[in-house]
């Protein structure tokens, strides 16, 4: 149903450089509005929350609705302040969550 949470940033950056963060997870983002071939409603099942923090400090987060397309791709910016780990977490309505991590070296 859901897999392959991914986060991509450059390996290295200069101090105070703005780096691009690209994140992706495989997920149907089932809106609850669709019907199957028998005409039955397909149950809602979505990722509704995404959070990114760098060494414990919040960088970016999103509260998302069924209007976000399947396999959510989210790209945002981060200021490179020091070397450390960027941790991204995707939360599904109902309690499941997935995490991905990337390391940034500030030179």
């Amino acid at each position: 149903m859901s897999a392959a949470p991914r986060v991509k940033i450059p390996d290295k950056a200069a101090k105070d450089e703005i780096v691009d963060v690209r994140t992706f997870i495989t997920h149907a983002m089932e809106s609850g509005l669709r019907k199957d071939e028998a005409g039955q409603s397909i149950a809602r099942r979505i990722i509704n929350r995404f959070e990114a923090s760098f060494d414990g400090r919040p960088v970016f987060s999103a509260t998302i609705e069924p209007a976000v397309a399947a396999n959510p791709f989210i790209r945002f910016a981060m200021r490179a302040t020091a070397s450390g780990d960027l941790i991204c977490t995707w939360h599904e309505e109902g309690g499941n969550s997935w995490t991905a991590m990337a390391h940034l070296e500030v030179t």
Binding site: R57, F60, A62, T63, A67, F73, R79
Partner: protein, 144 residues
């Protein structure tokens, strides 16, 4: 020239006729006022970048940006994205910090039909700014 315009107008009319739901499942005005806390919203500072004419409403690339230096003293705290003609008018709320460096986000969304999207940014000084973008959508991405 004439033929091209005629075809485009016909497509737009068709999209509008097919796609806009009779009523949204949430009230966009309520969502907006609870986001702003009832503060006035000025036009500007916020941009929405996407195609003008969208063939596939299921996966629509969109980029939002709000102008700010993103310093501790002044930054964009949140951007609300609304697609008023969608079944749920609300798309997402994005939250930023000075560590974001820039108040921008790119993603892919679903759109039901022809409409004007609105992105509203909230700043630490208490002001709210909005950007808009009108699009035509040829395939409803919220059904089927």
């Amino acid at each position: 020239m004439t033929a091209l315009l005629t075809r485009r107008d016909a497509l737009a009319a068709l999209a509008a006729a097919l796609a806009v739901p009779a009523h949204a499942l949430i009230d966009v005005d309520d969502t907006l006022s609870s986001f702003t806390g009832g503060k006035p919203v000025a036009e500007g500072r916020v941009s929405i970048e996407m195609e003008d004419v969208i063939a596939d409403g299921f996966t629509v690339p969109i980029s939002l940006k709000a102008e700010s230096a993103m310093t501790e003293a002044e930054y964009v705290t949140e951007i609300l994205l609304l697609a008023p003609a969608n079944p749920f008018g609300k798309v997402a709320v994005y939250s930023f910090t000075p560590l974001s460096g820039e108040a921008r986000v790119a993603t892919r969304i679903r759109l039901a039909g022809r409409q004007t999207l609105i992105a509203i940014a909230k700043y630490t000084d208490g002001t709210c700014w909005a950007g808009r973008k009108s699009v035509e959508v040829q395939t409803n991405g919220c059904e089927g």
